[in-house]
């Protein structure tokens, strides 16, 4: 996409998110050709949509398409089951012909089918499951607007769609991690914009609080957190490895929390009220930080991996 196309694409995605609600958002994204864009330019399509989802506190089921595509599933069906909160583990486990499922789906209503990846002995497989045997619970939780459902139970597989080696699941997690990273960045930028506006408008001691260095530096810290995380996410796209995607997700989660803390302090009492939109973004950030592995867990595994290999990989060459 050239700059003009990108601008037009971003504007229509934003329009789809703002002018529709619930499942109608998925329809609107479909109409504007987001799925085709994902095929042609996965990075641009993912970056634009997920950033806007974060910025607007909106939700869609687009993650299903991102994950299906990463797994090479050409005809995605129903909702894609995500690992449970804080985990990168496979959400399914085979027990004979029955699949035990425990995970999350990002859906507005109970889906008719789910796509689930599961462990079968030493193999990793994916299949479609009819959902009448599964239990769904609409997650209210910390961020009721995120549109998550918890799914649990055991169901017979209706169709086996893929039978592959382990790295396949890793690349699905990597794609999801990058998408969620963009959503975290979008939510972080929205928080920074709220805090910046507040700082400029709020008057204390006879002047705008944006004159105070303590306030300015907090906003600068939030900006630094976002910019550094974004640089790593973009580099991870170019690199294409699961290692860098995981690192980018962990770092973005950590930095989003840093940005959130500084912004909340600048917003002070206003930001603590339910009338002010800040809390929506904090809620979203804390939940997203736990999708595809919590930041602390991922960071600890990264360190353990480096200590075990006794070397720092040569990533991101010129």
């Amino acid at each position: 996409m050239d700059a003009d196309d990108l601008e037009l694409f971003s504007r229509s995605v934003r329009h789809a998110l703002l002018e529709h609600e619930g499942a109608a958002i998925d329809g609107a994204l479909n109409d504007l050709g987001w799925a085709e864009a994902l095929e042609e330019e996965p990075q641009t399509a993912t970056q634009v949509l997920f950033e806007l989802l974060g910025r607007e506190s909106a939700t869609s089921s687009s993650l299903d398409l991102v994950l299906s595509r990463a797994g090479g599933l050409t005809s995605p069906m129903g909702s894609f089951v995500l690992p449970p909160i804080g985990s990168t583990e496979l959400p399914g486990d085979a027990d004979g012909a029955t699949i035990l499922v425990r995970g999350l789906v990002r859906a507005h209503q109970e889906p008719a089918k789910v796509t689930v990846c599961f462990q079968a002995g030493s193999r990793v497989l994916a299949g479609y499951l009819a959902t009448e045997h599964l239990t769904f619970r609409a997650v209210h939780g910390l961020d009721p607007t995120l549109g998550l459902m918890e799914v649990e139970g055991s169901a017979p597989m209706t169709k086996l769609i893929i039978d592959v080696e382990e790295p396949w699941w890793t690349s699905i997690v990597a794609a999801g991690s990058l998408a969620v990273s963009h959503e975290l960045l979008g939510a972080s930028r929205a928080m920074l914009e709220l805090a910046r506006t507040h700082a400029l408008e709020r008057v204390q001691f006879g002047q705008s609080i944006s004159n105070f260095q303590a306030v300015r530096h907090r906003l600068a810290e939030a900006y630094l957190a976002i910019e550094s995380a974004e640089a790593l996410v973009i580099a991870a796209w170019e690199d294409g490895s699961a290692f860098s995607a995981s690192m980018a997700k962990a770092f973005t989660g950590r930095q989003a929390r840093v940005a959130a803390a500084h912004c909340q302090q600048v917003l002070a009492g206003m930001g603590f009220t339910a009338e002010h939109p800040y809390h929506h973004f904090l809620r979203r950030v804390v939940v997203l930080e736990q999708l595809f592995g919590g930041s602390s867990t991922l960071t600890t595994s990264l360190g353990a991996e480096l200590l075990a290999s006794r070397s720092l990989p040569a990533l991101f060459p010129l």
Partner: protein, 376 residues
């Protein structure tokens, strides 16, 4: 030459010549060792053509993208053949000469710097002028023979070895602030210049005080226009935060890698290791994007303050980790390797201070990037 062609050719040459370029000193590293090793390395790199790539032909270069310089520095850091501080000095000095010196002066002087015939220094900071560079007071007055300079500079890196100095002087009245500054290119052997190195906590005498007592500088050594020295200083800062930071990223990468090889199992908390790796790779990503933007003709401005904060944060984080993981070497070791770790740890304490403090960078981010209005 294109980068893709440059990379394998350079790497092959460095592989062949590693022994020639490896530091020869034994025992604890001194500044003299570092300076003479650097001159040796520069000489060979220049004669083989490598340091001429990425610089324009009008100063004796062989042309090509600045990415070639970025990669050259990175390759030297990766092989432990150069220290980033001294190695990257030309990345700041040469562009200033190219942009502001008279063409014949630039053509005469820049190759001497690149070939390692000369070391240059940068006379910016003064005892009363740290973060507030616009308040400097080292005076230059017009006389019939040229500029007459009187005053003092401090924190001047490598001044005791330097043949030339890019010097900022006050030519307007003190109230003219940044509008009354003129940049000069001064021969350090001019009568009236006294250099006094002083010790710093990391044990290498990098810095000096420099005194100017009626020092005469010819008018043709003016860099840019009279009273437009601020433009010279501002032009130089983005260079200070682009290619040289990429070199620093490569240096930190190698030192972190060495730490991972030398650390005893169990000495480091994996989570801390992961956090520092993320910071370092985030800095590298940002610096890489800056390099690519510069190479494609982009203008560098206030956004490089982000790069500067990230390098300082990453450097301190890496050496904080070193102080934990290699605690014996850093705290009680007295062999050369321990000395080196300790010196690097101590030097990293200054990363949030030199080249514009962490606070100044945040002021710039607030004013210029977040558009929060003036802070004064």
């Amino acid at each position: 030459m294109e980068l893709e062609e440059f990379k394998p050719a350079l790497d092959a040459w460095l592989d062949e010549n590693t022994a020639l370029l490896t530091p020869s000193h034994t025992g604890i590293l001194t500044m003299e060792d570092e300076v003479s090793h650097m001159a040796h390395v520069r000489r060979h790199l220049f004669d083989a053509g490598w340091t001429r790539y990425g610089w324009p032909e009008r100063v004796g270069g062989l042309g090509g993208s600045g990415l070639l310089r970025a990669y050259l520095g990175e390759s030297l850091m990766r092989r432990d053949l150069a220290e980033p501080g001294i190695y990257s000095m030309p990345e700041v000095m040469a562009p200033t000469m190219i942009d502001f010196a008279r063409a014949d002066v630039a053509l005469e002087m820049v190759p001497r710097l690149l070939r390692g015939d000369e070391v240059w220094c940068q006379g910016f900071s003064e005892p009363s002028t740290g973060s507030n560079l616009g308040s400097l007071s080292c005076r230059a007055e017009r006389t019939e023979e040229g500029w007459r300079v009187n005053g003092q500079k401090v924190w001047t890196s490598f001044a005791q070895y330097a043949a030339r100095c890019v010097l900022l002087t006050r030519t307007g009245d003190q109230a003219s602030a940044h509008r009354g500054i003129t940049a000069l290119f001064v021969d350090m052997d001019t009568p009236g210049i006294t250099v006094r190195p002083f010790e710093t906590m990391h044990g290498l005498d990098e810095f000096s005080e420099v005194f100017f007592d009626n020092v005469l500088v010819p008018f043709d050594r003016t860099l840019g226009e009279e009273n437009k020295g601020w433009a010279v200083a501002m032009d130089l800062l983005p260079y200070e935060r682009s290619t040289s930071l990429w070199h620093k990223a490569a240096f930190l990468h190698r030192r972190f890698d060495t730490l991972l090889k030398e650390v005893e199992p169990g000495a480091l908390d994996p989570r801390r290791v992961g956090e520092v790796a993320q910071l370092l790779f985030a800095f590298r990503s940002r610096s890489r994007a800056t390099q690519l933007r510069l190479a494609s003709g982009g203008h560098l401005g206030a956004e490089t303050s982000v790069d500067k904060v990230l390098v300082a944060t990453a450097e301190q984080a890496v050496f904080d980790l070193v102080a934990e993981g290699l605690a014996t070497q850093v705290t009680t070791g007295d062999d050369p390797i321990s000395h080196r770790w300790r010196s690097e740890f101590l030097y990293s304490r200054a990363a949030t201070i030199y080249g514009g403090t962490a606070e100044i960078q945040r002021n710039i981010i607030a004013r210029r990037l977040l558009d929060l209005g003036s802070d004064r």
